[in-house]
Amino acid sequence: MLSLATLRSRWHAFLGTFAALAAGVALLGATGLVLLATEPRVPARLARADLLVQAPANPAVAGAWQLRRPWSQAEAAELAGRLGALDGVSAAVPDVAFYAQALVGGAAAGDAEDEPQGHGWSSAGLASFGLTAGRAPAAAGEVVLDETIGAAPGDRVTLLTAAGPRPYTVSGTVDGPGEYPAGYYVTDAEAARLGAGVTQIGVRADAQAADRVRALLGDTAEVLVGDAMTAAEPVREIRLRELAGLALGMITGLGTFTSIFVVASTFAFGTHQRRREFALLRLVGAVPRQVRHTVYAEAVMVSLAAGAAGSVLAAASAQWFADVLAGAKIVRPDLDVTLTWWPLAAAAAAGTAVAVLGVGSACRRAAKVAPLEALRTAAVETRPMTRARWAGGLLSALLAAVMAATLTGAGAESAVRNATVGAAAAVLSMALLGPALLPPLLRVACRPLTRLPGAAGLIVRESSLTGVRRIASATAPVMLTVSFAVLLVGSLTTSQEATANEEATRVGAGVAVTAVPHGAGLSREVAAAVPGDAVYAVQSTVYYRDEKGHWSQRSISGVSPKALAAVTRGHLKLVAGDLTRLTGGAFATRPDLAEANGWRLGDAVTVRAANGADWRMRLVALVDGDNLPGGGEALVAEDAVYAHDPTALIPVVFTDAPRAEVTAALAAPGATVRDMVTWARDDGGFSTLIWTFVMILVTISAGFGALSIANTLLMAVRDRHPEFRLLRLAGATPRQVAGVIATESTLIVALGTALGGVVSGGALLVMRSALADMIGHPVPLTLPWGVITGIVATCLAIALAASVIPAYRASRHSLATS
C-alpha cells in the first residue's frame, strides 16, 4: 500500500526508471522475437523433398565451414538408384551443384559467400517453387533462372562459371522466395559436366520410407527428416544467424547494463532525496528491513508496469527492428517476426531482475536512515562520499593505473585490450569519486562565470558546490555516454585506419584482380588473361583420413609453374625436396604441417577430392613461409586441382603489370581491377557492418544516458522549489531563475564531456601508440567528431529541456503557492 501510494504521489521520480526499464524490456523483447525468427529453415530449393540424404560431415574445424565429404557423381547415382528402388520412395535425386552466378549490370547476382547455385534440372523437382514462364532446359546452352534476375525466356544472359563467363539462353524462369536468386538450372548432363562431387540426395517418399532409407544406408550417410532438414540451410543464413546472435547479444548486454545503471543512479538519487520520508517510516515503527522492502517493492512495481509497456512496445516494434537490422545486413532481409509470448515474458522478467539488481544499493542506503533524521529541522546534506564509494572509486583508479603501467611491456594486441579495460576502469572511478573530485573542478569552471555581470554565476557556483551530489549524479551519465562513444568509435576508426595502411604496405605495389562485385571468385580463363607476372592460387578442399580413421578437411592451393616461380622468388623458401616436381599428383607443404601429420618426403597420401574421387598425392617438397600461397595447407599443381574439382575458383590475382594494361586485357566482363591499397581496404563490407553495429551500440548507450540525465535533473528541480522561491523573493524574475538553471545544466554537460573526453582520449592515445608499435609506423588518431558533437548536443538539449522548462514553470508559481 505504502509503495503504491508513494508511486502515485511521486510518479515523476520514477519516470526515468520506468522509461529505462520499458526501453530495456522493449529492446530485450524485440531482440528475442527477432532471434526467434532467425531460426533455421528448410531452403525453398529443397522444400518438397520428404527427406534428405547427406554425405557424412567432417568434424568441425575452427575458423572453417564444416563440409561434407562428397560422393562422386557415379557413387551418388548408384546410391540414388538403390534408394529409388525402396518401397514408398517415389524419387531420389542426386543434387549436383556447380558454381554459377548471373552477371547483371557488371556485378554478380546473389552473394559472394553463397555455396554454388548451379544445379541440374532434376533438382528443380525438389523445390517448392516452379516454372513461371518458358520450359525446362533442353540443350547444353539453356538455363532456367530466378525471375529476380530480370531475364525472360529467350533472353541471352552471361553466367559466371568456374570455367569462365559463358553465354546462356534463358529457357524458363522460376519464382524463388526472397531477394536472392533461387538457383540456375541447366540440363542434368550440363550440370554433371560443370559440377564436382555430390553431397546430398533429395528423396520424395511416403512417411514410412524414412526407416527403410536409414536401414539401407546405415552410417554411410545422414538422413534428415522434417525439422532436421533445416540443416541444409544456406551457409549465408548460418553466418547471418551467428552474426545476429553476436550483435543482438551485445545489444542486449549493453541495454541490460545501461538500464541497471539508470535504475541504480536514479534510485540512489531518489533515496537521498527521500531520507526524511524513510526516517519518518522508521519513526512510526518500520524496522530497517521494512524500509528496504518498501524501496524494493517500488522498484518491482515500476518494473512490472515497465515490463508491460516494454512488451507491448517490443511486440509493436519487433518487425521494424528486424527491418533495421536487415538494412544493416545483420539479419536476413526477408525475416518475418511472429509474435510469441515467451520472449516478451522473459524480457519483462529480466526487466524486474534489472530493477532489483539496480535498486539494491539504494535499498541498503534507505534502510540505514536513522529515525532521528525525521526530526532534524534542516535537511542536512549528508556526506555524498560513502565508504563503499571511496573504496570502489580508488580500486577502479588503481586498476586503471595498473593497466596503464603494464601497457608498454605488453604486446600490441593486449595493449589495446589493456587500454580499453583501463579506460573503463578510469571512467568508473571518475563516476564513483565524482562527489570528491567535483568541488575543485566546479570552482575552476565557475571562475569565468562569476566574472559575468549579474548574480547567476555566483548562485550557480554556490548552489552547485552545496549540491555536489546532484551535480555528480547528473554529470556521470554524460561522462559515461561521451567516453563510451569516443572509445568505441575512436578505437574502431583508428584501428581500421591502421590495419588498412598496414595491409596495403605489406602487399606492396601492383594491381589486384578480383571477381566482379558479389562474385565468388575468378575462373582460370580470366586469371590466365591477366598480363605481367601474375600470381594466383586456385582453391579447393580435400578430405583426409588419418591412420586412426578420423576424417578431416584440408584446404589446398593449386599454383601454375609461372606463379610458383614468382612466389619462390618472393617469400617462399624451399626447405627440402624439389618444387620442379610439383606436377600431377605431387604436393608440397610446410614442415610443421608435414610433421604434425607424420608425412615424410616421398610419402604417398590418399585423399578424397572434391569430385568424390580418391586422389593419391606424393609429398615432393617442404616449403617454408608464413602462409603458403592462397593460404592452403598444401600446394599442388594448378592442373591437378582442376582435374579433381571443376568448380574451383581463384580469389585474387596479383600482377606487376600497369593497371591500364590489365584493365585493357580484361575487357571481357567478369573481373574487377584495382590497385593494391584499394583492394586491401575492401573488406567485403565488413567495416560497414561493424560501423553500423557500433552506431547501434552508441545510440543505445546515448539513449539510456539521456534518460538518466533527464530523470536526475527533473528530480533535482522538483526538490529545489523552495530555492526558486527564495530567489524570487530576493527579486529574481522567473526568467532569471531559468537562466541560473540553464547555466548549471550547461556546466554539468560541459564537465561530463570534459571528464569523459579526458579519460577516453587518454585511452585512445595509448591505444594509438600500441598500434603504431605493432605495425611499425605512426597511426593517425581518428576521432569521430561528428558522433561526439551529436552526443554532446543531444545531452545538452535534453539537460536543458529537463531542467529549464520545469524550473521556469515552478518559479512562476512559487511565490503564490508559498
Binding site: 505504502l2 504521489s9 517510516l281 522508521r282 512510526v284 515503527g285 530497517p288 529515525p371 526530526l375
Partner: protein, 256 residues
C-alpha cells in the same frame, strides 16, 4: 501497607537511570544530558521545560529509544532498551511508544486514515477499519479520513499524528513541542485532547514545551538546565498554574 507497597517503578511507564548523552568527541564534545534520573508514572502527564539547548529533545529521544544514550539505562514498559538491536528497539517502539512532533511528520503520500493505520501495517497486522475510524473520531477527524496531509490544516494534521500515536495503544506517548507550529486555537484543541486521553484512557504522556500555558495541562513539570534536572513542580490537588510555571522558567533562564 508499607510491606505490601509495590516499588514505585512498577507503575512507571518509563524510567531513566543516570542517563547521559554526549555528542561529538574531544574538544567538540557537548554533554546534552548529564546523568539524568527520572521516572514517568503511568496514567500521568509530564511536561518537560527548559531553556533552548538544555537537552529536552535529547531526553525525549533517549527515553523513546530513538537515540542511544552514551551512559545509563532506559527502561520502557519494563524492558531495558540498552541490549536491544535496532530492529528489536523498533519493534518495542512500535508496540509501546507513540510520538507526536512539532512538525507533524505525516507521510505526504498517504491519506489521514492510511497514516493512522501505518504503525499497525508495519507491525504486520491487518488494521481493523473500525479501530482506525475510532481513533480518527477520537481526535474529531472522522470526516477527514480520506484527506491527504496537504489538504489538512496544521491543527488537523497534528490531531492525525496523535491518532496515529494512539492506534497501537502505547504505554507512553512522547510529544516534542506538539503545539509549537500551531495557532492558539489549535493548540488548545490538541492540549485538551491529550489531557482527555490521560484522564479517560489512562494514557502516559511526556511532552516537551516552552509554553507555560501548555505545561499547565500536565500533572507535573520537570525543568531541565544544562542537561540536568534543575527543578520540578508537581500538582498538589490540581494541575500546576501557568503563572507559577512561568515564574520558575524565568528564574531558570536568568540563572543561565
Amino acid at each position: 501497607m508499607t510491606v505490601t507497597e509495590r516499588p514505585a517503578h512498577a507503575t512507571e511507564a518509563v524510567q531513566l537511570r543516570q542517563v547521559s548523552r554526549v555528542y561529538g568527541t574531544g574538544d567538540r564534545a557537548v554533554t546534552a544530558l548529564d546523568a539524568v534520573t527520572l521516572g514517568f508514572r503511568s496514567g500521568t502527564g509530564t511536561a518537560v521545560m527548559g531553556p533552548s539547548g538544555s537537552g529536552k529533545s535529547t531526553l525525549l529521544h533517549c527515553a523513546a529509544g530513538l537515540d542511544r544514550p552514551t551512559g545509563g539505562k532506559v527502561v520502557v514498559a519494563g524492558t531495558d532498551l540498552g541490549p536491544l538491536t535496532e530492529t528489536a528497539r523498533t519493534r518495542l517502539r512500535r508496540a509501546a511508544i507513540g510520538f507526536v512532533f512539532q512538525s507533524f511528520n505525516l507521510m505526504p503520500a498517504l491519506t489521514a486514515e492510511q497514516n493512522v493505520a501505518l504503525p499497525l501495517l508495519l507491525a504486520g497486522a491487518k488494521p481493523p477499519r473500525d479501530a482506525v475510524r475510532a481513533a480518527l473520531a477520537e481526535v474529531g477527524l472522522a470526516d477527514r479520513a480520506r484527506h491527504r496531509p496537504s489538504e489538512l490544516s496544521g491543527g488537523q494534521q497534528q490531531r492525525v499524528a496523535i491518532a496515529r500515536a494512539l492506534i497501537t495503544r502505547p504505554a507512553v506517548v512522547f510529544a516534542d513541542e506538539p503545539t509549537g507550529a500551531l495557532d492558539t486555537g489549535s493548540s488548545r484543541e490538541v492540549l485538551g485532547l491529550l489531557r482527555r486521553l490521560i484522564d479517560q484512557h489512562g494514557l502516559t504522556v511526556v511532552m516537551v514545551t516552552h509554553d507555560p500555558v501548555a505545561a499547565a495541562y500536565a500533572d507535573r513539570v520537570v525543568f531541565l538546565a544544562d542537561g540536568r534536572v534543575a527543578d520540578e513542580l508537581t500538582a498538589a490537588g490540581g494541575p500546576p498554574a501557568a503563572a507559577e510555571i512561568a515564574t520558575r522558567m524565568a528564574r531558570l533562564e536568568s540563572a543561565c
